[in-house]
């Protein structure tokens, strides 16, 4: 694999993009999960698909768009989706979760229309749905890196505010923090991460890389910072094992990464149970 990695540019692109996403998706994922917004990530990934499908359709129909990387329209769709979700959530104050099916079905509906309008990019769309090792271009890698820098800058600047906002929103507002603005920025950053991740794990599985490592991490972490560290560790492990096995077994990386994440999650859940039992036995013997 290392030999191949040195030899083939496409492998480098996929591998490095994967490594970067393995850090940023779970890192942001911790905030998404504790704020109970996991489903919003799912809705946004489907909106991203509408952008991708739209871009593929445009590039097929109009030569002017032929060279446009679909990731850009995907980003535009995802960011607009995140802002729309916020508008809807404030419109339906008592039914905030309604925003999710509205945006999600809207995204899938648009995608279906674009896909059927341009009947002919079936293999391409598969790589967007489930991820791909061979389809990641050098250009994609640069986009992923840029988004990673934005995410890290955001968290570097607003880490303490994001903690307060996630822990207790009312307290954040009462203490005079610009909660609304920080939340909006956060939603945009989430949209960016989803657009960045979809190249590797695929649109249908983006939210798994955001939530599964966090789900495992929360079982064993003692505090918030530890939760973030373990999440990144689990996310990165899943990406590496997933990409290597996808390469050798010729599988879609989205599938292998997600199944590895689930395996890690189960390992943590049962590992903790066994550790607790051992501890109990140990104290009984005393």
């Amino acid at each position: 694999m290392i030999e191949a990695l040195l030899k083939f540019e496409f492998l480098q692109n996929a591998f490095f993009s994967g490594l970067v996403i393995g850090v940023i998706a779970p890192m942001l994922g911790v905030f998404i999960v504790v704020r109970r917004m996991s489903l919003i990530a799912d809705a946004l990934s489907h909106v991203t698909l509408a952008g991708i499908a739209g871009s593929l359709y445009l590039s097929q129909t109009f030569t002017a768009f032929a060279l446009l990387n679909p990731i850009y329209l995907g980003i535009v769709a995802s960011v607009s989706g995140s802002i729309l979700i916020e508008r809807l959530r404030s419109l339906y104050k008592h039914y905030e979760e309604l925003a999710i099916p509205i945006i999600m079905s809207g995204g899938i509906g648009l995608s279906a229309i674009f896909i059927s309008l341009a009947s002919g990019f079936n293999t391409d769309i598969m790589s967007y749905l489930f991820g791909s090792i061979s389809a990641v271009s050098r250009h994609d890698l640069w986009v992923v890196l840029t988004i990673a820098i934005v995410v890290i800058l955001f968290l570097y600047a607003f880490f303490k505010e994001m903690f307060v906002l996630s822990f207790d929103e009312e307290y954040a507002k009462a203490s005079g923090l610009p909660a609304k603005w920080i939340h909006l920025l956060f939603m945009i950053v989430v949209a960016l991460v989803i657009a960045a991740s979809m190249r590797i794990v695929g649109i249908l599985l983006v939210s798994s890389l955001i939530t599964l490592p966090v789900a495992a991490s929360m079982r064993i972490a003692k505090g918030f910072k530890q939760t973030i560290i373990y999440s990144i560790l689990f996310g990165e492990t899943a990406v590496i094992i997933g990409l290597v096995s996808a390469f050798y077994l010729d599988l879609q990386p989205g599938g292998t990464i997600v199944i590895t994440s689930i395996f890690i999650l189960l390992l943590v859940i049962f590992g903790k149970k066994i550790a607790l039992k051992m501890k109990q036995k140990g104290s009984n013997l005393k």
Partner: protein
């Protein structure tokens, strides 16, 4: 209305004690009204809180207590009336860190949140440190001090979700204290605390009030929990029926109190 009650009790002692301190109005509401859609919640509320007061706002469920606190904290805008905080109009008041808020425990946070007590208390420094700034280097010591003030110093590495309701409430007070507030505002702080621990909880608040000279405002629906530790009591049910010293409150007849509260309440001394 207040004058009426100011006259009939032997309040000279308290008046004296009070004039020892520099009298300074911290919070003032003038003719404040509020309504949610078509329901009037607060009607023409006027009152003052002076520095060093320990005020319990008493009112039945639905009397507008929480709304009053939210207006005070700037979370809601009143329909009419004026609010001034530390002599400044509420709209332009920027030193929100001077007001430490402890919300009702039950709806404040998700108890599965993965954070240690230390992380939670430290987050109380967020607004004070300012945007784009790091927390101070001695944040850890400040956390210990704040936890010590509420008697929770041995729990700093515990997970917040594993603590009892009363312990969590103390941690949230520490989170407010770490920013060195001048006023502490608590929404139903004794809900979820065992009956035996309520007294020691009030003792702790009283020592914060006396020793650190922090003004305290708390809201409760339960007359039982208005301890002798408070200096002032206000009775709220859409409008303020009474506002005065605790000792004056004690002299109010049961009948009168029931009328204000809109239902029978017990008064235990």
């Amino acid at each position: 209305m207040n004058q009426l009650y100011y006259q009939n009790v032997n309040r000279n002692d308290y008046e004296l004690e009070r004039s020892d301190r520099m009298s300074e109005t911290i919070i003032e509401m003038k003719n404040v009204s509020f309504q949610y859609e078509y329901t009037q919640v607060l009607n023409n509320i006027s009152f003052k809180v002076e520095k060093g007061d320990f005020l319990a706002i008493l009112g039945p469920n639905g009397s507008g207590k929480s709304t009053l606190l939210k207006i005070l904290l700037g979370l809601l805008k009143p329909l009419a009336g004026e609010i001034s905080l530390f002599g400044q109009p509420s709209d332009t008041f920027r030193q929100r860190e001077w007001i430490g808020y402890v919300s009702q425990k039950s709806n404040a946070f998700n108890s599965g949140f993965p954070a240690t007590v230390e992380e939670v208390v430290k987050s109380g420094l967020t607004k004070k440190s300012g945007l784009f700034k790091r927390l101070p280097n001695d944040a850890k010591q400040q956390v210990q001090q704040a936890l010590m003030a509420v008697g929770m110093e041995q729990f700093s590495t515990a997970n917040i979700g594993q603590l009892s309701g009363g312990q969590q409430q103390r941690v949230f007070i520490a989170r407010a204290l770490i920013a060195k507030p001048k006023v502490l505002v608590l929404d139903e702080p004794t809900v979820g605390i065992d009956h035996e621990n309520v007294q020691s909880f009030y003792d702790m608040l009283a020592s914060l009030n006396k020793e650190q000279n922090i003004t305290i405002i708390l809201v409760t629906h339960d007359v039982d929990t208005v301890s002798n530790r408070v200096s002032h009591v206000a009775c709220l049910n859409q409008t303020i029926h009474f506002h005065g010293y605790k000792q004056e409150f004690d002299s109010i007849s049961q009948e009168q109190l029931d009328k204000w509260q809109g239902h029978a309440v017990r008064k235990i001394h």
